[in-house]
C-alpha cells in the first residue's frame, strides 16, 4: 500500500509539472502548444549532453538544462508562434512542426539509442520497510518545490499579477499598460522550464530517446482536459487522479493498461463535464 502511495505521488508530480506548464501557456496566451513534449525531451537530452559529453557536474548541468529549455521556449514563442498568434490553427501547425523537427534533430545528433542521465541519488531509500528508488524521491521533492514556487510567483508578485490580468482579459490588461507580448514570452519560458525540469529529473529512471516527447505530450493534454484548460489547481488535481489511477492499475491489475487510464479519463470528462474538473474559461 505504501509502495503505491509513494510511486503514485511521484507519477502525479511528474504529470503535474508537465500539465501545469501546458495549461499556463493556454490560460495566458490561448496557445495549444503541441511542442510541449519537446521541452521535456530537450531537458533530458541537455542534461545528458552536459553531464556525459561535456562532463559538467549534475547540479549545474540540471540548472543549465532548464535554463536552455526556457530560452528555447522564449525563442520559439518570439520567432515562430507570435507572428501566427491570430490563427489558432496556424499555431497548432507550427508547434507540431517544431515537435517533429526537434525529434528528427535529436535522432540525427544523438542517434536512436537510449541515453543515460545520471541520478542525484542512485541508491534505494527505505521508508517504513518499502524500498524506493532515491531519484524518484528527489523528483517528487523538486516537483513540489517548483510547483509551489510557481504558485507563489503568480499570486505574490507584480509580474504574477500581470500574468493573472492577461489570463482574465488580455486586451484590457494591455490597455492598462501591461506589456502582453513580454508576458507571453515569460510564460512560454516558464512553461518550457517546468517541462524541461520534468525531463531532467525523470530522465534517470525513465526513457531518454528521441521519441520520448510523445507520451508526456499526450499525458499533459489528458491531465489538462480533465483538470480544465487553463486551470492550474485543476491540473494538479487531475494529475493526482490520473497519476494515482495509473499506479493502482499498474500495481494491482496490469501495467499494460496504464495508458488507457488517461484516455478513459478524457472521454469521461468530455461526456460528463466538458469544461473539466475546475475549468472556467478564465481561471488561474
Amino acid at each position: 500500500m505504501l509502495t503505491v502511495l509513494i510511486y503514485g505521488a511521484v507519477t502525479s508530480a511528474i504529470f503535474a509539472m508537465l500539465a501545469v506548464g501546458f495549461t499556463l501557456i493556454f490560460g495566458v496566451a490561448r496557445i495549444l502548444n503541441l511542442a510541449h513534449g519537446t521541452f521535456y525531451a530537450l531537458g533530458a537530452y541537455s542534461a545528458f549532453a552536459l553531464t556525459t559529453i561535456l562532463k559538467v557536474p549534475l547540479l549545474p548541468a540540471a540548472i543549465l538544462s532548464v535554463a536552455f529549455v526556457a530560452l528555447f521556449g522564449i525563442v520559439m514563442e518570439r520567432v515562430l508562434v507570435r507572428p501566427l498568434r491570430n490563427s489558432a490553427l496556424a499555431v497548432l501547425m507550427i508547434t507540431l512542426a517544431v515537435a517533429l523537427t526537434m525529434q528528427q534533430v535529436l535522432f540525427l545528433v544523438f542517434g536512436s539509442q537510449s541515453k543515460n542521465v545520471p541520478a542525484f541519488i542512485n541508491h534505494p531509500v527505505t521508508i517504513h520497510g518499502v524500498s524506493v528508488d532515491g531519484q524518484r524521491l528527489v523528483a517528487l521533492s523538486i516537483a513540489i518545490v517548483l510547483i509551489a514556487s510557481l504558485w507563489l510567483f503568480i499570486h505574490r508578485t507584480r509580474v504574477g499579477s500581470a500574468i493573472l490580468a492577461i489570463s482574465q482579459d488580455a486586451e484590457a490588461a494591455q490597455y492598462m499598460g501591461i506589456p502582453s507580448n513580454r508576458i507571453f514570452s515569460l510564460v512560454m519560458g516558464l512553461s518550457a522550464a517546468l517541462a524541461g525540469a520534468a525531463g531532467v529529473i525523470a530522465a534517470p529512471f525513465l526513457t531518454v530517446r528521441p521519441t520520448m516527447d510523445l507520451v508526456p505530450m499526450i499525458t499533459a493534454f489528458s491531465v489538462v482536459i480533465v483538470g480544465g484548460l487553463g486551470s492550474i489547481p485543476g491540473s494538479i488535481l487531475a494529475a493526482l487522479i490520473i497519476g494515482y489511477s495509473e499506479t493502482i492499475v499498474a500495481f494491482y491489475w496490469n501495467p499494460q493498461w496504464t495508458g488507457a487510464i488517461s484516455l478513459i479519463a478524457v472521454l469521461l470528462t468530455l461526456v460528463l463535464r466538458p469544461s473539466g474538473l475546475m475549468g472556467k474559461p478564465i481561471s488561474l
Binding site: 509502495t3 510511486y7 507519477t11 535522432f107 536512436s112 539509442q113 537510449s114 541515453k115 543515460n116 545520471p118 542512485n122 541508491h123 534505494p124 524500498s131 528508488d133 531519484q135 534517470p204 529512471f205 525513465l206 526513457t207 530517446r209 507520451v215 499506479t247 499498474a250 500495481f251 501495467p255 499494460q256 496504464t258
Partner: protein
C-alpha cells in the same frame, strides 16, 4: 552541319558499343539489397557487416568476374515499411539477392513479397521459427528464404533451458524462477518451449508476464516478481527499451539475480550506456572475441579496426551471409535463384560463429561445431565474461552487487 554528321555518327556508334548488353552484363556488379532498420544499432550493424564482407570480396576480384555492390532500404520496425523496402529493392533496384531483416513481425510480412519476386533472401536478424516454417509448408513458393542468423527462438529456448539447469539451478542453487518477456512474436514462440523444458527439469516458474514493447516504467512488474517469491528472474527482451528496464531493475534491488535474452545488452556499449547498472546481468550473445572458429577473431578485430567499435550480433550475421552468398554464386556459377538455392541447400560453410548448414526448412542448424549461443555476463568495470557453455567460459558467474557472494 554536314561536317558534324560523321562525328556524331562515330560518337553514337561508340556509345552503342560501350553500352551493348553483352558488355554491360559482363561488367554489371552483383547487387545486394539490404533491408534493415537503419536507425537502430542492430540495423546499422547489418549494413556494416555486409559492407565489410563486400569490400573483402571485391578486394579479391569479386565473384565470377563481377564486383559486389549494395543498396540499402529502411524496413524500420514496421511491417508496412518492410514490405515497401522489399518491393523497392526487388521491383525498382532489381537486386540479385536480399540480405537483412531484423524484426520477426516485419520479416513475416515481407515474406510473401520476397517469394513473389523470386529473389533469394538470407535473413540475419529475425528469430521467429515461423520465418522459415513457411519453407516447410510451401516449399515451391517460399524456397527463396533462408535464415543465416540468429538461431531461431526455439533453439534459443533449448539453450536457455541448458543455462537455467546448469548455471541457475546447479551453480546458483535456485529452482524457483520468474519470467518477464516482451509481447513479441519471437517471445511468444519461445516461451512455451521454455516452460515445457524447465518444468521437465524440476524448475518452478512462480510468475510469468508478457509486457508491451512500448512500456517505460517496469517497477510494478518488479514488485510482482518480488512478491512471487522467485529466486531468479529470466528476462526475454529484443525490441523493448531494455536500457530503461535494466536501470529500473538495478535500482529496484530485487533480491535475486537475473539474466536471459536481452538483445540490446548485446551491444558492446550497453553497460556504459546504462551507467554501469547492467553489472551482474547475464545475456545471450551469438559471438564475442573468442576463438570460436578460425574466422572469429580476425572478423572481430577487422570490424573494430574499420568502425572503431565492437560489433553487435547482426554484424557477423550480415558478414557471414554475404560471404556465404559469394561462395554459393561461385559454386552455382550463376546468380540465378534455382541453382543458387541448390548450392545453399548443400552448403556447409565455416562462418564467424560456427559452421553454417541449413535444415530442410532452410533454417540454420545449432549444436556442437555449428552456431551456438554464448551466455555472457557484465562484470566489474563493464567487462564481458562468457559464463556458459563451460568449454568457452572465460570466468565464473557472479551475483549482483547487493546480493553478496
Amino acid at each position: 552541319m554536314r561536317r558534324l554528321i560523321p562525328f556524331l555518327s562515330a560518337a553514337l556508334l561508340s556509345a552503342l558499343a560501350a553500352g551493348s548488353p553483352a558488355k554491360a552484363a559482363a561488367k554489371k556488379p552483383i547487387l545486394i539489397g539490404i533491408d534493415a532498420p537503419i536507425q537502430l544499432q542492430v540495423g546499422k550493424d547489418i549494413v556494416a557487416g555486409e559492407k565489410m564482407a563486400i569490400d573483402e570480396i571485391n578486394a579479391k576480384g569479386g565473384v565470377l568476374g563481377r564486383k559486389l555492390a549494395y543498396v540499402v532500404a529502411d524496413e524500420g520496425m514496421n511491417p508496412q515499411l518492410g514490405v515497401s523496402a522489399i518491393n523497392k529493392l526487388t521491383a525498382e533496384d532489381h537486386v540479385n539477392v536480399l540480405i537483412g531483416g531484423f524484426s520477426s513481425g516485419v520479416v513475416l510480412a515481407e515474406e510473401p513479397h520476397i517469394a513473389q519476386s523470386r529473389t533469394v533472401f538470407l535473413g540475419v536478424g529475425a528469430a521467429s521459427p515461423n520465418v522459415t516454417a513457411l519453407v516447410g509448408r510451401d516449399y515451391n513458393k517460399y524456397k527463396y528464404i533462408f535464415r543465416v542468423n540468429p538461431l531461431n527462438s526455439t533453439l534459443q529456448a533449448d539453450q536457455l533451458i541448458g543455462f537455467v539447469n546448469n548455471v541457475v539451478k546447479k551453480k546458483l542453487g535456485r529452482k524457483k524462477i520468474a519470467i518477464l518477456g516482451e509481447s513479441a512474436i519471437w517471445v511468444r514462440d519461445l516461451v512455451p518451449v521454455l516452460l515445457k523444458g524447465l518444468q521437465g527439469d524440476g524448475i518452478q516458474v512462480a510468475y510469468k508476464e508478457f509486457f508491451d514493447e512500448s512500456m517505460t516504467d517496469f517497477t510494478p512488474l518488479f514488485a510482482r516478481v518480488k512478491a512471487s517469491g522467485a529466486r531468479y528472474l529470466l528476462i526475454i527482451i529484443g525490441h523493448a527499451n531494455s536500457d530503461t528496464f535494466i536501470k529500473q531493475l538495478y535500482e529496484s534491488r530485487l533480491p535475486m539475480p537475473y539474466g536471459g535474452i536481452d538483445v540490446k545488452s548485446m551491444d558492446p556499449n550497453f553497460c556504459s550506456r546504462v551507467g554501469g547498472e547492467s553489472i551482474g546481468e547475464t545475456t545471450v550473445n551469438f559471438v564475442t572475441r573468442a576463438p570460436i572458429t578460425r574466422k572469429t577473431i580476425p572478423f572481430w578485430d577487422g570490424f573494430e579496426k574499420l568502425y572503431h567499435r565492437a560489433p553487435v550480433y547482426t554484424a557477423p550475421g550480415g558478414y557471414n551471409a554475404v560471404h556465404l552468398y559469394a561462395w554459393a554464386v561461385r559454386k552455382a556459377g550463376t546468380t540465378k535463384a534455382g541453382p543458387l538455392i541448390k548450392a545453399l541447400e548443400g552448403a556447409d560453410y565455416l562462418g564467424v560463429g560456427g559452421r553454417i548448414k541449413f535444415d530442410k526448412t532452410h533454417d540454420v542448424l545449432a549444436g556442437p561445431g555449428y552456431q551456438n549461443i554464448l551466455f555472457v555476463q557484465w562484470q566489474k568495470g563493464c567487462k564481458r565474461v562468457v559464463v556458459w557453455p563451460k568449454e568457452l567460459a572465460s570466468g565464473s558467474v557472479i551475483l549482483q552487487p547487493w546480493l553478496g557472494k
